[in-house]
């Protein structure tokens, strides 16, 4: 990283893996948050929400992460 004459530090150029990591983060973090939230309830609907939005988001994010590191 260099500092320009005007004193502005440019952002490092994103590598393709960086974008994929951010996308994976956008899937995994909400998925985990949903899963954590469902642990507060013993209702069957909590289990369904845990499995489907929660589990699905985490699984999709992990797949995206693995694809990102495999293709890097």
């Amino acid at each position: 990283m260099t500092t320009l004459d005007a004193g502005i530090t440019p952002r490092p150029i994103d590598r393709p893996i960086d974008k994929r990591l951010r996308r994976a983060a956008l899937l995994i973090a909400p998925g985990l948050a949903i899963q954590a939230a469902t642990l507060g309830s013993a209702h069957p609907l909590a289990f369904i929400v845990f499995m489907f939005p929660g589990g699905f988001l985490v699984a999709a994010g992990i797949v995206l992460f693995l694809w990102a590191i495999a293709s890097a």
């Binding site: 985990l32 899963q35 469902t38 642990l39 069957p44 589990g55 985490v58």
Partner: protein, 204 residues
């Protein structure tokens, strides 16, 4: 929230924090330590968090509260409070012969190999039917109630072995030739709940 659930939530919060660090500074992954951090944050911790959370959910699915949260099960829950010692589930529940917080699961799981697993698969099917499928007009067991489920606790107990009613029957009961519920036939009786007085547990 149970201790296990709190531990799982803590693990998940930690995983989200690490994910946020890597997402904000993805260039961290250009060095070896950053790669390890990304693997922990994006793979290992989410997998562990999901597995432990699933275990916590499955454990909770054994609770009486969980079973009775479906509207169709309410009369069965009410039948646990029938004020009569003749009714087998009510007598077991009220006298704490079974854990009250796992009353349904204790008698209705299958005490054979993979019984707990089969119960959970059936539970998933029940969820599907309750929210998406069609509720059957009459709720019935998948298979006749097995003595094995009673004998899991009663076999060998003095009250069971020395009971006059069981004289000469123990072999047949053990081999399922005679069903326990042939004699102990007062079960949930949900069709006649209006006729039964209900037991109110005195507050300490």
């Amino acid at each position: 929230m149970s201790g296990m659930a709190l531990a799982v939530v803590s693990l998940i919060v930690f995983a989200i924090a690490l994910i946020a660090v890597v997402a904000v500074r993805p260039n961290l992954t250009s060095v070896r330590g950053g790669k390890v951090l990304a693997f922990l944050a994006f793979f290992l911790l989410p997998v562990l968090g999901t597995v432990f959370a699933l275990e916590a959910h499955l454990d909770r699915s054994k609770s009486t509260e969980f079973c009775l949260s479906c509207h169709v099960m309410e009369p069965y829950g009410k039948s646990l409070r029938i004020d009569s010692a003749d009714f087998v589930p009510a007598a077991h529940f009220q006298n704490r012969r079974i854990p009250r917080d796992q009353a349904c699961y204790t008698c209705h799981t299958n005490y054979a190999m993979f019984g707990g697993f089969k119960s959970k698969i059936r539970g998933l099917r029940h969820l599907y039917i309750n929210y998406i499928g069609t509720m059957p007009a009459k709720i019935e067991l998948y298979e006749p109630f097995q003595n094995r489920e009673c004998l899991h606790c009663h076999a060998g107990s003095r009250g069971y072995v020395e009971s006059e009613g069981h004289d000469g029957q123990l072999e047949d009961l053990a081999t399922e030739k005679t069903s326990c519920i042939e004699c102990h036939s007062d079960i949930h009786d949900v069709a006649n709940m209006a006729q039964h007085a209900l037991w109110k547990e005195p507050k300490p």
